[in-house]
């Protein structure tokens, strides 16, 4: 669905739901996952319906994911890092 405008540079590899994703330096987690064909990155707290990143600039909070064990992180504002562990967020963040 999406393709890069610029040619690929060095690879950064991270894990999404146990699957290896190949990204580029400067990608956000949301960008990398959309490019990898992943479109449902979380389910909503109340109705449990699926959601994808929407604004890609930090204002809509549709892209909340669990990143390195911390829930409710905005995937569109989080740069990819090698070895990152990313999970789909199911419902609201669990704290206790």
């Amino acid at each position: 669905m999406f393709r890069r405008i610029e040619p690929a540079a060095a690879d950064i590899r991270f894990s999404y739901e146990g699957r290896e994703i190949v990204a580029q330096p400067g990608d956000s987690v949301a960008t990398a996952l959309l490019l990898a064909g992943e479109t449902s990155l979380r389910t909503t707290p109340i109705s449990g319906s699926a959601r994808a990143p929407y604004c890609m600039m930090g204002v809509c909070f549709e892209c909340l994911m669990e990143i390195d064990g911390v829930g409710n992180r905005q995937a569109c504002l989080t740069p990819v890092k090698a070895g990152m562990q990313v999970q789909r967020q199911r419902g609201a963040r669990e704290l206790l």
């Binding site: 409710n72 963040r93 206790l96």
Partner: protein, 367 residues
């Protein structure tokens, strides 16, 4: 335009009375200001809180309890008529104590209220029991008071339900209008706003902080002043709390709200880090895991406080038909305002035991 009842002030107090009067068959106009008004109804914490209300005034303790009992009927009726769910949950309320001194003080308050106003099942729960009731309690918590009839609601949904319920009953909601002149005669009032005239047999002053200026126009006194409260809201979290807590609640949507300071700051509605930090520190001492939660909003709003903190309800002696209604717990008292006070106003007579709520109590010299 002529009405049976005009209510000035479209906050929770005025909204509940206007809806309640319309539900009794009265023709009602609810006059309200615009978006920049001071409105406690839009900035409050949403507790339906009974356990500590009315120490020193049994009439207020009983009125609060009556309201908690009437609340389910109010919520059901509004939901049925408007489709708006006020999200009432009366699962019991906890007020946490962090030191033995606090716990002793709390225990003696409960004993005093029990002796003054009767038993409603409020009791002290100790360190072990509280940990069995609620997960994730911090080490500093030494106990809590628990009251089985305390609860919470969604205050914005409540306000919307009251306004839309009023419209469905044929009442008029008239926003964007600041009342500054009233021509008063017994059982005949003309409210003037610019060139507009609204006439009614009965007039209710429920204008929150604006009541102070309006009340004397109809022979009443409502010497209320602002008391600022700040509120912190976190991101949505998986539900972890089966009770309402005095300074912390989790909404049905999963937000955690932390309240709420009491500051004498005049009409200043700004927020400040020092007070917010104190509130956060206390609540994270109770629930340490909340330190990991992100804050998404903070705000401040102004409570409407009478000199002794108790409500004022009164019919004008000079101009019968004019009523004063103000309190600092408009969510808690919404049940009683809509289903007990409003019918009395429509009937033209406040019950005898309402004498305790008259502003005449401020004339008595205190010692």
């Amino acid at each position: 335009m002529a009405y049976d009842v005009i209510v000035i002030g479209g906050g929770l107090v005025g909204g509940a009375i206007a809806w309640g009067a319309a539900a009794k068959g009265a023709s009602v106009a609810l006059i309200d200001q615009g978006d920049i008004a001071f409105r406690a109804a839009r900035g409050n914490f949403g507790l339906v809180w009974v356990q500590s209300k009315g120490a020193g005034m049994p009439a207020y303790a009983h009125w609060t309890r009556a309201s908690a009992e009437l609340w389910p009927e109010l919520a059901d009726t509004l939901a049925g008529a408007t489709g708006v769910d006020a999200a009432l949950r009366q699962r019991g309320g906890l007020a946490f104590c962090l030191t033995d001194a606090e716990l002793e003080e709390r225990a003696s308050l409960l004993t005093r209220m029990h002796n003054e106003s009767g038993d409603i099942g409020t009791r002290i729960v100790d360190r072990d029991e509280i940990r069995a009731m609620v997960p994730g309690i911090g080490d500093r918590v030494v106990g809590a008071s628990f009251c089985p009839i305390d609860g919470e609601a969604h205050p914005l949904h409540l306000l919307r339900a009251l306004h839309s319920g009023l419209l469905r009953l044929g009442g008029d909601y008239l926003p964007g209008r600041t009342v500054d002149a009233i021509d008063a005669a017994p059982n005949s009032f003309t409210v003037r706003i610019g060139a507009e005239r609204f006439i009614a047999e009965k007039l209710v002053i429920a204008a929150g902080l604006g009541s102070r200026e309006l009340a004397p126009l109809v022979g009443l006194r409502m010497p209320v002043t602002p008391l600022r409260g700040q509120i912190i809201v976190t991101e949505r979290l998986r539900p972890f709390l089966d009770y309402t807590c005095h300074t912390l609640r989790q909404t049905v949507e999963g937000l955690v709200m932390m309240g709420d300071s009491q500051e004498d700051a005049g009409f200043d509605t700004s927020v400040g880090v020092p007070v917010l930090r104190t509130m956060a520190e206390r609540n994270t001492a109770v629930f340490p895991a909340l330190k990991e939660a992100s804050i998404v909003r903070v705000w401040a709003a102004l409570r409407v406080m009478s000199p002794d903190g108790f409500p004022i309800y009164e019919q004008s002696e000079r101009y019968p038909g004019a009523f004063a209604a103000t309190c600092h717990s408009g969510v808690t008292l919404a049940g009683a305002h809509a289903l007990a006070l409003a019918p009395a106003i429509v009937a033209g007579e406040l019950p005898e035991h309402f004498a305790a709520f008259s502003a005449r109590r401020f004339d008595v010299p205190t010692h």
